[in-house]
Amino acid sequence: MNAELEKVFALSEDVVAREIEGELILVPLAAGMGDADDELYTLNETGRAIWALLDGKRSLAEVVGALAAEYDAPAGEIKADVQGLVAELSRRKMLVEAG
């Protein structure tokens, strides 16, 4: 098992996630989270499905497993998507590794 997939991630306290009219909007709270200091972020459908499972309890492997059970997509593709989103959100300091 890839050690990376054993990691558990949670939403950083430095971001506020808001669901408004069907959009998931991430509002940075601390400085230096985005490319500019005046922007908000939204997640696409795939991103939101992954995001919902990043609860600070499930490992990434469990997130991949849960998504594979729900969606009709090759496991390799799901794994790449999960790792891609986690990398992007981590780069923006919106996700942190839990405990």
Binding site: V16, A17, R18, I20, E21, G22, E23, I25, L26, V27, P28, L29, A30, A31, G34, D35, A36, D37, D38, E39, L40, Y41, T42, L43, N44, T46, G47, I50, A80, D81, G84, L85, E88, L89, R92
Partner: protein, 391 residues
């Protein structure tokens, strides 16, 4: 690899694609008190006004309103005044708003940007540039407007602190007889500031007192106004302003008796004043149109109170005969809010704005000398013709 995450800006972005939340943005006036005493200001009360301070919403009342706003989907919050930084609970309220996920636009004179406040704005950025009004480029000029000794030095200090901390801000100004000679220097200086953008924040048209609270102050504002001819020339000197105005005139939709054709009843950005009254916009202060948030909720105001504004009609025959038939209406600064501020009547006529608009129209060639817009039956065609001719 997919792009899971998209950057979005509130400004101009079609974030909602037709599914807009019930409240997109809210403006809050934390206090009407100010440490400046600018002669032209439409809302300021003395900093020491104990009665005003006593009547202001408490910290908890503001927090309740902000939380409800966020619950209704609000993303943008404008914090203004008076001088909002005079509130001792500013940091507490600011943090509450940001933790709710609100993007904050702060309007200030910068005098109270203490090291602690600047550090807060650096650590928890507002996500919108702080907007600072600059009244002059020298202490003498600045304080001739602010009427507050020592205010220039404090403003410069606040600005320096923002610069040192790298907190983004923009500057704006209001052109008055006192500082007119320094406007060129102001523009030149503003262009040297980090992240400088083309200046759009120069106020030329002074509004009357929002609460009609002082005949003497209102008379003073009247005297400070730029003569209509001079103002028309100033406004038309802005790049493409003439073309934009011709386009507005060419799109006039015909006679209307609607009291609020701007759609204020739709409440694009309502404003909560310092005492908990919700107004349909920043300027619409007529008490009979306000909603008391101390006794009700934002949701109730949006659902039941404001929608009735759409059906309100203008009942002043003179207004109907003039403004109601004016093809220059969309060029004119007048509206029900300003009419109330000027005349005490929502359907009053603001002669100053009418004179400015007519001066603009004559310069554009839309009206002949001695001709009035409400007498003209082919105004739209005139505007279209001038546009075609590339005027």
């Amino acid at each position: 690899m997919e792009d899971f995450i998209s950057r979005r800006s509130l400004a101009g972005a079609a974030l909602w694609q037709g599914r807009a939340p019930r409240l997109r943005s809210l403006s809050i006036e934390l206090t009407e008190r100010c440490d400046n005493a600018c002669q032209h200001c439409y809302i300021n009360l003395p900093r020491e006004d104990a009665a005003a301070q006593q009547a202001e919403l408490s910290t908890e009342e503001w927090k309740r309103i902000l939380s409800e706003a966020a619950g209704l989907g609000c993303l943008g919050l404008r914090i203004t005044g008076g001088e909002p930084l005079l509130r001792e609970d500013f940091a507490d309220l600011y943090l509450h708003a940001r933790r709710l996920g609100l993007k904050v636009s702060l309007f200030t004179n910068a005098r109270n940007l203490t090291p602690e406040i600047v550090d807060l704005l650096r650590r928890v950025p507002p996500l919108a540039k702080i907007q600072i009004t600059v009244y002059g480029m020298s202490a003498e000029t600045y304080e001739a407007v602010s009427c507050a000794p020592g205010s220039y030095e404090q403003f410069r200090q606040g600005l320096e602190r923002l610069l040192e901390a790298g907190v983004p801000f923009l500057v704006k100004s209001v052109e008055l007889p006192h500082n007119r000679h320094e406007m060129e220097a102001f523009h030149a200086w503003a262009a040297t500031l980090p992240g400088a953008e083309p200046l759009t924040g120069i106020t030329y048209q002074l509004d009357q007192r929002a609460h009609r609270d002082s005949p003497a102050r209102m008379a003073l504002i009247e005297r400070l106004r730029m003569p209509p001819e001079e103002l028309a020339a100033k406004l038309l000197a802005e790049p493409v302003a003439g073309r934009d105005m011709l386009e507005l005139a060419s799109r006039w939709g015909g006679s209307s008796a609607a009291l609020l054709p701007c759609g204020a009843g739709g409440c694009a950005e309502p404003q909560v004043d310092a005492y908990g009254w919700l107004h349909a916009c920043t300027l619409l202060r007529a008490p009979e149109l306000a909603y008391n948030l101390r006794a009700g909720t934002l949701a109730d105001a949006l659902q039941r109170h404001f929608p009735r504004f759409g059906a309100m009609k203008n009942e002043n025959p003179l207004h109907q005969a003039r403004c109601g038939r004016c093809f220059l209406r969309d060029l004119c600064e007048s509206c029900a809010a300003k009419a109330w501020m000027e005349t005490g009547q929502l359907d009053g006529i603001v002669e100053y704005h009418c004179q400015v608009t007519h001066a603009i129209a004559r310069r554009l060639g839309l009206l002949a000398e001695e001709e009035y817009s409400w007498e003209v039956t082919d105004g739209v065609e005139r505007a279209a013709q001038l546009l075609q001719e590339g005027r």
